[in-house]
Amino acid sequence: MKAAVITFPGSNCDRDLAVALAQAGFAVARVWHKDHDLPAGTDLVGIPGGFSFGDYLRCGAIAAQSPVMAAVKTHVERGGHAIGICNGFQILTETGLLPGALMRNAGLQFVCRPAGLRVTTADSAFTAGWRSGQSIRLPIAHHDGNYTIDPEGLARLKGEDRIAFTYIDNPNGATGAIAGILSTNRRVLGLMPHPERAVEAEQGGTDGSVLFRSLAGVAQAA
């Protein structure tokens, strides 16, 4: 159960993600964006939140061109797991590893608060610890979380049961109130909410630890 957490210039949730993964039982390596390879035997790549490259051009656009992202693509193509949280989700859409794009919040405000979410599918290594339809609570903190996809893409996500989480009260105008989606092989998750900020009671909730424990169980079984 080896996880690699990537740090870009401007990442600020990388340490929290590493701590959350270690707490769930992962051996966590920290990887710099200029590295060309992931550590041997990496089961899971974590792409953290933050403001990589100052959100210049578009959120995640410059980070998506980093050397390490070529290694992440190879890892994903080989069937490896990856999770992108907040800016990490933006980076995954910019690399084309997940469909759609994250646009400026419809209300133009940065939103920073706990959000009620619906677990839309339990059919993934990330969400297997919940029941489909279960409501949970995770913090959100973003300015560009307005998930946008064309009607055909949305129909495809729905038809393939790849919407992982939806907002109970849509905070950002996201298409279909989508908060997180899965790749075609269900091994890549991108989500705007921050599960790594909800793994200790002191953080105001522990719903996020369900995700990391579930993921650790799957990685161990593999």
Binding site: T93, E94, G173
Partner: protein
């Protein structure tokens, strides 16, 4: 050789920032602004002296980085 790239949201993609600008113009008393779309202008200074190859190269830059073609469209001017 200089190139100017215009990046705009595709038609049909809602532009929350453009909408906020339209609203603000109305507040300032500019009546009759029916719509505002906000985009980016990117100026490039190129060493190339061949117009056609410069344009082809800038188009590649747009596809790979300067625009997100999921939501954005672009035009290239070579001067």
């Amino acid at each position: 050789m200089k190139a100017r790239v215009h990046v705009m949201l595709k038609d049909g993609v809602l532009d929350p920032q453009g909408e906020a600008v339209r609203h603000a113009l109305g507040t300032l008393g500019f009546a009759g602004v029916k719509g505002v779309r906000q985009g980016k202008v990117i100026d490039l200074d190129l060493s190339s002296t061949d117009r056609a190859s410069a344009e082809a190269e800038v188009r590649k830059m747009c596809e790979k980085l300067l625009a997100n073609t999921v939501i954005e469209k672009y035009t290239v001017e070579i001067a």
